[in-house]
């Protein structure tokens, strides 16, 4: 036995194990820090930095100091900065390769803080988040701008716009000239005055010939009959041509009518495009608030994408295992049924306190995991704050439900009471930049996203308000009237309803601003619209007048072909009447 055992080897093994343990304890904090930075950077698509990491074994926990996550869309800004993050881990589950955080506390969370250096990295996520910052997919956001009714330049509009009437005139003119040319050629082939004169001389000849109708009776009758047939054949061809001509002329008749009416249609179209219609007057509030609504939706979409990304599992594990061959030397982990199933990553409870402009907001998030289907519980969050610096109360709550990944359901509810609004921009449009100088806002937001369908509504009431319109606003009587009406308001209410599929939802905005602005600026807008219509009509008619006259000349030229055909027919018919048989 002694031949096979060397007991000193045991001491070497213990020594080696101790060295490894000491090495691990010395370097583990650095390893954890670098792992978090590297994983975070890959996941976010921008630099994730950590000031310090401290791993404790008894009880097993991790403390992170100074976590800064760069905003991938604005690399000189941190999307979030967390002063201190303390995690309490379940050691037994860690041995099972599961990261289960029983309790997590986040303190000193600050959003959108500036960075000293750029945190940009080139990854796919950066590209995706840039794509995500597109404006909301709704027609509403494409048609916010106020028609420039005060500064409409008729000549500029007419030089930039294609007039359909001119195109129609040109097209009809071309067709008319083509037909005219065809018929001129055809007229040459049809029996005309010369031929009928020839017939006439032949008749005269037969009459005054050696036998006349009286002599050579049989021969004369034969010639006469032959002549009659020839004249009749020519008359038939003329009648046939006239019939075809009439059909073409009738076809052109409709086109002439449409073309004559086309300039007025152009006037109507351009009026709809450039001037406010009576329906437009009913929604002036959209012009003032639309940008803010669309901007808010865009921001919400960006945040939702970020939050969703944390919770998303790219593919079901079993599918992923089958589809991609494992990396060399890495192998594949086969999963079996667990007696007490748990996700690979789970934060059971996270307590967090946000530092926002208004003060500090505290709350908790429960069940943060990409494997809600395994856990069987949705992520829920509740944050609230009372008697803050700029806010009476704020309450934010909601859930992200992926228990059944096929039918995700997310919900958010936000209530703000007496939020002190100061110098908040409502509209940044160059024509009408509106700012709430000061005011108190009560906001209530409820939104639900179920199976890709969005349904939400926001009601906001602004009171004790003072609105300002920048001096740089577009000048003109209408904008002046709108601006003046806005500055006299002391408050307003807004209701926004959003519904429909996430990639094509509908936004409905209703506000009492509509009525206030309509009564203040409506008459002015109406007068401007009428003036615009009158000038537009003059401009279009002046532009289309010349080509229309030319078209009429061409039409007359074409109609003369019909007269020629009628004359020839008359000539031929008269000639046929002269040819009388001797019996």
């Amino acid at each position: 036995m002694k031949k096979w055992i060397r007991f000193q080897g045991l001491f070497v093994f213990i020594g080696l194990s101790l060295i490894l343990t000491i090495f691990w304890l010395i370097f583990v904090d650095g390893i954890v820090k670098r792992t978090i930075e590297s994983y975070g950077t890959n996941a976010v698509g921008a630099k994730v930095e950590l000031a310090d990491a401290d791993l404790k074994l008894f009880p097993l926990g991790l403390t992170l100091e100074g976590l800064a996550v760069t905003n991938p869309d604005r690399p000189m800004e941190n999307i979030v900065e967390i002063s201190r993050t303390a995690l309490l881990l379940d050691p037994l589950q860690l041995l099972r390769r599961k990261v289960i955080v029983d309790e997590m506390s986040l303190t000193g969370i600050r959003l959108n803080t500036p960075r000293k250096t750029s945190g940009a990295v080139k990854t796919h996520q950066t590209k995706e988040s840039q794509q995500a910052s597109k404006k909301p997919p709704s027609v509403f956001c494409d048609s916010i701008s106020l028609p420039a009714i005060d500064t409409l330049d008729i000549q500029k509009i007419l030089s930039e716009e294609k007039l359909e009437s001119l195109e129609m005139i040109q097209k009809l003119q071309n067709e008319l000239q083509g037909e005219n040319s065809n018929w001129q050629k055809r007229l040459q082939g049809l029996p005309g005055k010369e031929k009928f004169d020839d017939y006439r001389s032949r008749i005269e000849k037969l009459k005054s010939g050696p036998g006349g109708f009286g002599g050579g009776l049989l021969g004369s009758v034969g010639n006469l009959s032959s002549l009659q047939k020839e004249i009749q054949a020519d008359l038939d061809s003329l009648k046939n041509a006239q019939k075809q001509f009439d059909q073409i002329k009738a076809g052109f008749g409709n086109q002439f009518q449409q073309t004559a009416a086309a300039p007025l249609k152009d006037v109507e179209r351009l009026k709809q495009k450039y001037a406010l219609s009576s329906q437009g007057l009913d929604n002036l509030g959209k012009v003032v608030l639309g940008q803010k609504v669309c901007g808010g939706l865009q921001k919400a979409a960006e945040w939702y994408k970020r939050v969703k990304f944390v919770l998303e599992r790219s593919k079901p594990k079993s599918e992923k295992e089958k589809e991609t061959p494992p990396q060399r030397g890495a192998g594949t982990y086969v999963r079996f049924k667990e007696t007490t199933p748990l996700p690979d990553f789970l934060i059971r409870r996270a307590r967090a306190s946000f530092v926002i402009e208004a003060g500090e907001l505290s709350g908790k998030i429960e069940n943060i995991t990409p494997d809600q289907d395994i856990l069987g519980c949705p992520l829920t969050y509740v944050f609230s704050g009372e008697k803050l610096k700029e806010l009476q109360t704020i309450k934010l709550e909601g859930s992200i439900n992926r228990i059944d990944p096929e039918t995700p359901m997310d919900r958010i509810a936000l209530q703000l009471k007496e939020y002190k609004v100061q110098n908040a921009s409502l509209s940044q449009s160059a024509d009408l930049p509106v700012t709430i100088k000061e005011g108190l806002a009560d906001i209530d937001l409820q939104a639900k996203l179920e199976g890709g369908s969005l349904n939400g509504n926001l009601t906001a009431g602004i009171k004790s308000a003072s609105l300002g319109v920048d001096e740089g606003a577009g000048k003109g009587p209408v904008l002046g009237a709108i601006g003046s009406a806005l500055t006299q308001l002391s408050g307003f209410n807004v209701k926004v309803d959003v519904s429909g599929p996430l990639n094509d939802y509908t936004i409905r905005l209703s506000t009492d601003l509509d009525q206030a602005l309509k009564s203040a600026a409506g008459r002015m807008i109406q007068q401007q619209a009428e003036k615009f219509e009158k000038e537009l009509k003059q401009g279009v008619l002046a532009k289309a007048g010349g080509p229309l006259d030319q078209l009429k000349t061409d039409q007359n030229g074409f109609n003369s072909i019909g007269s020629q055909l009628t004359d020839r027919l008359k000539l031929g018919t008269g000639l046929l009447g002269n040819v009388k048989k001797p019996f």
Binding site: L10, F13, L92, G331, F336
Partner: protein, 173 residues
Amino acid sequence: MIKMIAKLFKVINSETDPGQISLAFCLAMVAGLTPLVSLHNFFILLLVLLLRVNLSAFILGLTFFTGIAYLIDPVFHWMGYGILSAGALNGLWTSFYNVTLLRLAKFNNSIVMGSLVCSVIAFVPLYMLLNLLIQRYREHILAWVQKTRIMQLLKTSKFYSVYQAVSGWGGRS
């Protein structure tokens, strides 16, 4: 490396028990073919240090088997995945999966399972084969090799001088 090989030859040529050399190779095979940072390899390390096996043979074997493990890991993956997904064994693996220590041993990894099964199966046959080869070598080949022209040439090389230097260290490994 030359020193290591020379040392190995010295051990093979000495009167060291062939079993100690063979066992070192076999343990190296298990540690080398399976992923190095695995729980069972701590146990292998303990055995290597505790049992009187030849350390030079173990280190050389470990280098050799680690090299070939990378080349044949697709075979280990295929084999391990087959074993782990075999319906008949599902109950066994499920019960293993719920034991923390075994989960830590990464038994459910296709390469760990495939390479471990291969090396365990090959352990006893390789041990016996190496024993036999060392014995035969000592009995028949060593004397013949000493007389060959190549050996005469080799004796003048750097390798032989290293070998001689190692021979002078004496004692069993």
